[in-house]
Amino acid sequence: MWSRLSFVGRRAWNNLRELFWTHFLAAIAMTMTLFVFGAFILLQENLQNLLKGWGDQIQINAYLDKSAGVAEVQNLLNRIRSLPEVQQVRFISSAQAWNEFQAALGAQSGILEGLPKDVLPSSFEIAIKPSFRDSPMVEDLASRLKKERGIALVEYPQEWVDRLSLVVLAVQWAKWILGGALFLVTFFIVGSTIKLAILARKDEIEMMQLFGASEEMIQAPFVIEGVTQGIVGGLLSILCLWFLFQSLRDVIPSGVGLVGPLTHFEFLDLRSAGLILVIGLTLGAAGSLFSLKRFIKTWRG
């Protein structure tokens, strides 16, 4: 058994070495495909995290009239606290809102220069109890709050959540449609490189068949070549995604005022990275087997 494995391994290694550039280019094609696919996964995962974050801390922002006095605000706060749906209410003064917005914009906070510091209204951040977080209940609460004196505007992220859910769904579909088309192209590219490897070894394969080598002994090295392309392509694509992720993370601001702070961005988890590797490996193996079936003449039993 060991001698067979060693023979297959040596042949695969020799083939990879001798057709290095062909295999390398196929691995690069694989890298590009898996990179695009991985980028969609990355986008989808982060959007889903964002959605989950919003869902966990669903809240209503009630912006106050600038004319509302301290007593009126306190009165309003007590009334809102007493509502059965409300878990917690946080009062954010105009100055506090300004500071938080400035902090969220980070390096880009310069755009606020010249604006009066009381431009943002005071508000209540109203956290809702988990059992009341259904869309109609939130809507109902928001409409009741709108009717309260002293409240100028009520916003809640539910419609953003709904819109973002649609975007996530679109990304998910795009991932598989575009990914599927690229997988098909890559499958044929891998198949072509293995075809070249088979043609380069045509005489050797014929002699091996005549000596009595089993089909597995003949075909296994080519499958290993395809799988190697897949694994190398998978690893390179994850590496490229990591660099893309690092560079984008520093550019995108970590929060926007309207919907509250975004959850921090996360790189692919182990499951997704594993999926990319498994797809690479499968594409490599399938491309090789496809070419082997087409280009190696075998005897019929």
Binding site: G212, M217, R300
Partner: protein, 229 residues
């Protein structure tokens, strides 16, 4: 050891290559298959290692029906057969030693053992100095001896040689034939397809003659037959 029962072989569209061949060959025989070009000599040999399948009839090799083997069975069958070709079919990228060892390695013989066996065979055939030479650096006779060593490396019970002296001069052809006779002393059955009458007269103990795909003659001793004419 080898039995043909009413074997026919036709190539598409309907060209007969062999017609109603029935014969038996015992273990250890030294057999020439002869006839003009296109007589069916190569086809007859190919049928034995399943390089071709018969259109009709049955071929038994050591009691095993060759036509009924699946791909694994064909691989096992071929492990017991050593093949020698007119054009040697050595792999030009490999050295003489590697060419011989490859035949053993592909059937699962450990690398070290394959190379030891290959080296001993090349030494026996007087090629120990040429182990590291690539085929193109060898003479025709040397290449054929490497090919014979390769055919022997798995200790086959049967050697099939298709025009093994076709590309060799008379002296080297004689040496090659003597080599086959020596191999036969170990009990190996040898079938040689050749149309070299001089060689057949000198070395043939049994001659199967094909004409247009038909079995024209099956003679046990050519020299004796020829002298009687």
């Amino acid at each position: 050891m080898i039995e043909f029962f009413h074997v026919y072989k036709k190539y598409p569209p309907n060209l007969p290559a062999l017609t109603d061949i029935s014969l038996q060959i015992q273990q250890g025989e030294f057999v020439f298959v002869t006839g003009p070009s296109g007589a069916g000599k190569t086809t007859l040999l190919k049928l034995l290692f399943r390089g071709e399948e018969p259109s009709e009839g049955k071929i038994l090799l050591n009691g095993q029906n060759v036509n009924r083997l699946n791909s694994r069975g064909v691989a096992r069958l071929r492990r017991g057969i050593g093949l020698v070709f007119q054009e040697f079919k050595l792999l030009p990228r490999l050295t003489a030693l590697e060419n011989v060892a490859l035949a053993a390695e592909v059937i699962g013989t450990p690398k070290r053992e394959s190379y030891i066996r290959a080296y001993h065979l090349l030494r026996e055939l007087g090629l120990q100095e040429k182990c590291d030479a690539k085929p193109l650096a060898l003479s025709g006779g040397e290449q054929q001896r490497v090919a014979i060593a390769r055919a022997l490396v798995n200790n086959p019970l049967l050697i099939l040689a298709d025009e093994p002296t076709g590309n060799l001069d008379a002296q080297v052809s004689d040496e090659t034939m003597r080599l086959f006779l020596k191999i036969r002393e170990h009990g190996t059955t040898i079938m040689i397809a050749s149309h070299d009458i001089a060689l057949i007269q000198r070395y043939g103990t049994r001659v199967i003659s094909l004409q247009g795909g038909y079995l024209a003659a099956d003679l046990q001793r050519v020299k004796k037959q020829e002298s009687e004419r």
